[in-house]
């Protein structure tokens, strides 16, 4: 069993490394496939200036050599200088932005998991009652709503109409809405997951035994049932964090949060190639690692799962 698990982890690890390498390769070569190169803008600089710039950024070397150089840089978390924001390193921008994004993301994930688990369990306990139906309708609706729609509606209602919260994400109060906007979709998804797995678990014999020996219902649900019902949520945690990371791209744009997403979106419009490359590689690697960890955790938590 343990060798099987180790084999599985090794297999996934190799896959993850190949994937990350592929991501770097795709990013690098697709950015270099762009006709005109990064210095082609509205007012094209003269040939000498372009040549000097290319020499400065190492763009005059052959492509293969550039790729090896870039790969070496990535290993050291060095994505080179930003092309449009003069004098700043891409890795510094990523670090700075990610600090903010991580805060929002972590809070959103925590909220989504806690409330999702509670609502899902409630829906399962009150199966087919009014509460269950209400929770299901709401979660179905929120699953269908793209995060940017949720975010804009919130902006409209809470900032424009009611004027309750600041629309600017620079302040602490301004972070409330982005967090809610990001957490609604995963929250609804976790609610649905928990509900269906909880319904499964509640029908099992050991729950009946627990009831028969007179345990309190709250203890049965939260101690005995939830523990087994939670495994699908663990598998979802990887995709959820990926969703929150990419979802934060637009949500941060809408609420003007100075996080990684905002830099990424503006780097797309500015054509700041090194920043696009750096952010893509950073986020993608992060997502691949998160997926890997959540998959491995799932296998460890639920030994019944087939490892083949």
């Amino acid at each position: 069993m343990d060798t099987k698990l180790a084999k599985y982890i090794l297999k996934r690890l190799i896959l993850a490394i190949v994937t990350i390498f592929l991501i770097i390769t795709i990013t690098f070569f697709s950015m270099h496939a762009i006709p005109g190169g990064p210095f082609l803008s509205e007012k094209s600089p003269s040939a000498e200036v372009t040549a000097a710039l290319e020499a400065k950024y190492g763009l005059d070397k052959p492509l293969g050599e550039q790729f090896v150089e870039y790969l070496k840089g990535v290993m050291r978390f060095d994505f080179g200088p930003s092309i449009k924001q003069r004098g700043r390193m891409v890795s510094d921008i990523i670090k700075e932005g990610f600090k903010v994004s991580m805060k929002i993301g972590a809070v959103a994930a925590a909220i989504a998991i806690t409330i999702g688990l509670v609502f899902g369990s409630l829906a399962a306990v009150f199966h087919n009652k009014f509460l269950d139906k209400l929770i299901m309708v709401l979660s179905t609706a929120f699953v269908a709503m793209p995060s940017f729609i949720v975010a804009t509606f919130m902006l409209l209602v809470f900032c424009v109409e009611l004027n309750l919260l600041p629309a600017n994400g620079d302040t602490v109060g301004g972070l409330v809405l982005p967090v809610i906007a990001l957490s609604l979709y995963p929250m609804s998804y976790i609610t649905r997951l928990t509900r269906s797995s909880m319904l499964d678990v509640l029908g099992q014999d050991y729950i009946r035994t627990a009831r028969a020996k007179g345990l309190k219902p709250s203890k049965i649900i939260f101690k005995h049932a939830l523990r087994n019902a939670v495994t699908p949520v663990i598998t979802y945690s990887g995709p959820m964090l990926a969703y929150i990371l990419t979802g934060s791209l637009v949500v941060e744009k809408i609420f003007a949060v100075p996080g990684l997403g905002k830099y990424f979106v503006s780097s797309i419009t500015n054509r700041d190639y090194t920043l696009i490359m750096g952010t893509t590689i950073f986020l993608a690697t992060l997502i691949v690692i998160l997926m890997l960890v959540s998959d491995i955790l799932y296998k460890i938590f639920d030994p019944r799962v087939d490892l083949s």
């Binding site: 896959l15 762009i34 005109g36 609706a141 793209p146 940017f148 804009t152 902006l155 424009v160 986020l283």
Partner: protein, 364 residues
Amino acid sequence: MPKNSTHDIDTMPKKNPLSFQIDLKDFDLATSEEKALQDRMRESTTFLKDGLKRLWRNKIAMACFFIIVAIVLLVTIVPIFYPYSYDQQLGITPGQPIDSSYNNLKPFEFGETEKQRIAQGEKIFPHIFGTDNHGRDYFIRIIYGTRISLMVGFFASIIVLIIGVVYGSVAGYLGGKVDLLLMRIVDIIYSLPDMLMIILLSVVLKIAFGNVIDNSPLSKLGSGMISIFIVFALLYWVGMARLIRGQILSIKQQEFVLAAKSIGASSYRIITKHLLPNCISVIIISTALQIPSAIFTESFLSFLGLGVSIPMPSLGSLASEALASVYSYPHRLIIPAVVICLIVLSLNLLGDGLRDAFDPKLKK
């Protein structure tokens, strides 16, 4: 039992008065009509009919189906008779200064020159949702935006369907080393973070195609659109391929495939005539669920400014443009947002309904 079951009552054996048996003489024989009543045989039904019947009974799914049909009809019919076009700036008439009274009209308001014409007794078609900041009629922009979003969803799903089915069935049918190799490729693509890769490829493709497709018939579609399709073709088929492969792997073990092989059917024939028809339910369901996810992705990209090219609208780009003036004209944001939610929700629920109707095994 009896050879002549129509024998009459008198031939029945007499009941012993001491027996506890039922006296058979108390009963009448059933007539052939009454016997026919017991016939519970239903008319034979096809797979499709059976599924559609079940779907018809699902009220939520049918309601969603009619909403989608209504939206599709609306976006095909309205542009035919609607007096304004999606890129016509109403304030601009050749040879005259720009009439800014047409910009940012509220719903059902009119521009200056239109008001004069109405005063002269002329009838003018109202701007149902007002106009945008360039003086373009917003209703028709919404209609075109919906059209684009639906088209993207539909065609992207078709692309995914074709690639996924071909790839998955080849991998599943051939099995062995080929399957191993093909599925490793799928695994790698599957673990790429799709949204990020889509954004990256859209950025690149949009620029790369910008020059190539100018002056070609594709230019109207826009480089953003084409890159969305390409990205879908490159990345999104893996889910479908996995599903189809799994199905084929289990079906190809069955005897009828062996029978087909033994009478010398070619691999192509076995896949197309025997294996794929047996996974049709999986194909229908996942294609139906692919459409809303494609629409979702398109609106996300358009919202980031990577989707369709200006002046072509899509629901995502309309919402994104409206964000700038959300304080003054909130309706311009609300309308596309509601339409996106309506389409995605209805398609999702319809897809769930299709799943329940065509593949009861999959029901959770």
